[in-house]
Symmetry: C2
Subunit: 167 residues, 2 copies
Amino acid sequence: MEFKEAKNKFVQTWGALGSQWGINKTMAQIHALLMVSNEPVSMEDIMEELQISRGNASMNLRGLMDWGIVYKEYKAGERKEFFTAEKDLDELAVKISRERSKREIKPTLKILKEVSTIEAKDSAEEKHFVDQTTKLYDFVLKADNMLDKMTEFNENWLGKLIIKMMK
Amino acid sequence: MEFKEAKNKFVQTWGALGSQWGINKTMAQIHALLMVSNEPVSMEDIMEELQISRGNASMNLRGLMDWGIVYKEYKAGERKEFFTAEKDLDELAVKISRERSKREIKPTLKILKEVSTIEAKDSAEEKHFVDQTTKLYDFVLKADNMLDKMTEFNENWLGKLIIKMMK
DNA sequence: AATAAGTTTCAATTATTTTTGAAAGTTTAA
DNA sequence: TTAAACTTTCAAAAATAATTGAAACTTATT
């Protein structure tokens, strides 16, 4: 396989994976493209390589920057903006975790707390509901805290974690 | 908040969360409904509670069974089929992890292997591509193996894991 | 302060995904 | 073996999400 083909295959695959995880295809593709680029890429180049419109590129780049995993860069003497991706994978994982926690997990926890603390009357049905949502709350809270812990490990937490798990 | 309201809120929230994670809303809602039901639920009841068509219910129940997190049950003397959800949350997490690994991670690893092993010529661009995709391969492989390990812990791995992480 | 270079926004369009509903298929019981 | 009870399938319709493109906006240059 030659370089261009491999690069394209990677970008497509990353895009498809993104879709399956609730990230829009183009956003994932742009991210993939920037991840494997050794130097900052302009919006023009992104549009060209992925065959997408200016508006699309602009919006998805903004989205990626909101996630904190793509940065804007300026080149001396150039008016255009360039973009780079976070390339450290541990850092990338930490940022994505943090952001998903903030956007999705925390609000869900809030609701779980609410619904699990209704007064359970005496019916088995209601008791089971309270019991199950309480368990779910505890579980999600624990999982979310684990993500927080990961950020403390910081350097290569995944490797360290696996070593601990082996023991 | 009264029971019916809480239940509805939970089902809606779980459905919305599903969407954000690439699981279709109805599938997530059915799962939520079954999780908090203390006894098996018929397709009729699911249709009624979620206000969805028979076809929709049928297809999404099938999907949930393919994930291995919803089971069919038969009640003595009843012709209808009933459904229950996996309610043990550790077990649920393990099953979802296993299935996502099989369906999404493993195929992605295969592609990453392919594209990271092209002959890198001498250009910095190509070298960076090979380097970055190799790192990505290693990272995803490690993360995937961690999921496997979780299944070995089996009983309350999340709690144990957090304790280990604290140390 | 006018112009040029570049970016963002958003209503309209297009593509994708989900849902419906009725026909076809299955299974059980008489 | 027929009919009734129930489930599955899938083409068409509806709902949702992504994309375009051109006008509005911003910033830098002359």
